[in-house]
Every structure is written in structure tokens, then in C-alpha cells.
């Protein structure tokens, strides 16, 4: 597949199929997780809590992969080839926002681990999960788009807003990008369902429904 020929990015534009897909699948899995949390709060069925926590776990894993791949990509496009100083990278709102979002989800697992009572654990972590999902939007979608950033999507950047405006992605990239998002998401869902099935077998005696 041919890709747009751009300065600085060069062939590394193909990272769109990996780095960006990680974040998209993470959003979808966190969305599924929050739906199960709300379902748990509606009926207090522990089965829904197991679904919620495992989708959140795989979602955070994809988020960590998204962060790791982003650091590699940024190293060869921002740091060296645009002569950005370490200070401007550390001030990068997209990186700070993504780190905050992942840390909020990290706190979700810490919170879960600190309870011994299963029902209390499920109930409080379900409420916290809704809060964590709500915090994703300002920290990774809105704030980096309001303030200046090296990351695409910032106001006045040459690359436009490729994640939200589909007209800003080249049609050749879209042909691979959208199926790739679906594929990575399905892979994440598959791993999550494996984890859920293990947990369901383990907690068979607790669930009895």
C-alpha cells in the first residue's frame, strides 16, 4: 500500500495502523467496561463486575502499548528531527493527559485490590470506573486539542485533526486504518473474554445464577 509522502514523518506514518489503533481500541474496551459497570450498579450481579474489570484491564494494557509506541515514534519525529528540547516534550499536553488517564485507571485496580469485601469492592469500583471513563475525555480528547501541542489535532497544526475529522486522513490510509482499528479491537475483546472465562470458572461457586 502506498502512503502519503510527508517530511519528518516519512515512512513512519505507517505507525498510524499501530499506535493510533491501540488508543482507539483502548477507548472502545473502556467504553464496554463502563457499560458493564452501569449494568452491575443496576442489578448488583457479580458477573457484570467480572466483565467490567477484565475489559478495563485489557484496555489499560492497550493504553500502555499505545504510550510505549508513542514514545518511540515521538523520539524520531519530535525530539531529533524537529530539534525539540526535552523540556518541550515534558510539557507536551497530550503526553501528560494520556499519563493522567492511565494513572486514573491504575488507581482503579489499586482501589479494587484494597477491598476484602467482594460486594463493596464491586460497588465502589463500578462507581469509580464511571468517573475514570468520564476523565478520559478532558484528559486525552479535549485539553490537548485546546492548547498547543506537537501531537496532531492541536490548534493550528498542519496535520489537522485526524482522529476526530475523517477528512483529515488520506483515503489511502483510511483503507487500512479503519479495518486495523476493528482488528485490534477484536483482538483485545478476545483476550478480555479469555480472562473473563477464567474468572467465571474460578468464581463458579460464588455466582450460582
Amino acid at each position: 500500500m502506498d502512503v502519503p509522502h510527508l517530511f519528518i514523518l516519512n515512512e513512519s506514518i505507517r505507525n498510524l495502523y499501530f499506535h493510533v489503533c491501540m488508543w482507539f481500541s483502548m477507548m472502545i474496551l473502556f467504553g464496554v467496561s463502563v457499560v458493564y459497570s452501569i449494568k452491575y450498579l443496576a442489578g448488583f450481579n457479580l458477573r457484570n463486575d467480572i466483565f467490567a474489570v477484565n475489559f478495563a484491564a485489557v484496555g489499560s494494557f492497550l493504553g500502555i502499548l499505545g504510550y510505549a509506541t508513542g514514545t518511540i515514534w515521538a523520539n524520531y519525529t519530535w525530539v531529533t528531527d524537529q530539534n525539540q528540547s526535552l523540556g518541550s516534550i515534558l510539557k507536551e499536553p497530550k503526553l501528560i493527559g494520556a499519563a493522567i488517564a492511565l494513572l486514573i485507571y491504575g488507581a482503579y485496580f489499586v482501589l479494587r485490590g484494597s477491598f476484602t469485601d467482594m460486594d463493596k469492592k464491586a460497588r465502589i469500583s463500578a462507581v469509580y470506573n464511571i468517573f475514570a471513563f468520564a476523565m478520559l475525555f478532558p484528559s486525552i480528547w479535549i485539553i490537548p486539542r485546546l492548547v498547543g501541542s506537537l501531537h496532531p489535532g492541536a490548534p493550528g497544526s498542519d496535520s489537522g485533526n485526524p482522529a476526530l475529522n475523517f477528512k483529515d486522513i488520506d483515503s489511502r490510509l483510511r483503507m487500512v486504518f479503519y479495518p486495523a482499528v476493528i482488528g485490534w479491537t477484536l483482538l483485545g475483546v478476545w483476550i478480555a473474554t479469555l480472562k473473563i472465562r477464567i474468572q467465571l470458572i474460578k468464581d463458579k461457586t460464588l455466582l450460582h445464577d
Partner: protein, 71 residues
């Protein structure tokens, strides 16, 4: 003698210019990631994801074998 001096000076001049121009050249060091239009950045990203996935699946596998012993 003067002929020798001129030759010698020319030789030194030539050497120094060649040395100078050599110093001006960009040193080629550890630029593999930037060769072939930065395609190796994509390779590094793919490998990161693959290794990450393998580690994650391996950890899940270990968890399953642990609970298999308990049953």
C-alpha cells in the same frame, strides 16, 4: 629549496582542507532508524506491540496453569 617549501606548503594546505572538509561531513552514527525513510521506526513499534502482547498472554497462561493446579 623554495620549490620544496612550496610543495610542502601545498601538501599541508591540501591535507588540512581535506581534513577540514572531512570534519564538516555529518558523522554517520547509529542512524539505522532513519534509513529507508524511517521504516525501522515502524518495525520498532510493531515489535513493541508484539513483545507486549506475548508478555501479557504469557502472564495469563501462567495464571491459568496456577488455577489448574488448584482445581
Amino acid at each position: 629549496m623554495t620549490k620544496f617549501m612550496v610543495r610542502y606548503l601545498l601538501f599541508v594546505l591540501f591535507m588540512s582542507t581535506s581534513f577540514f572538509s572531512f570534519a564538516q561531513e555529518k558523522p554517520e552514527m547509529a542512524d539505522a532508524m532513519r534509513s529507508n525513510g524511517k521504516i525501522y521506526v515502524v518495525v520498532a513499534v510493531c515489535l513493541t506491540i508484539l513483545i507486549g502482547l506475548f508478555i501479557y498472554v504469557f502472564l495469563i497462561d501462567r495464571k491459568i496453569s496456577k488455577s489448574e493446579k488448584e482445581v
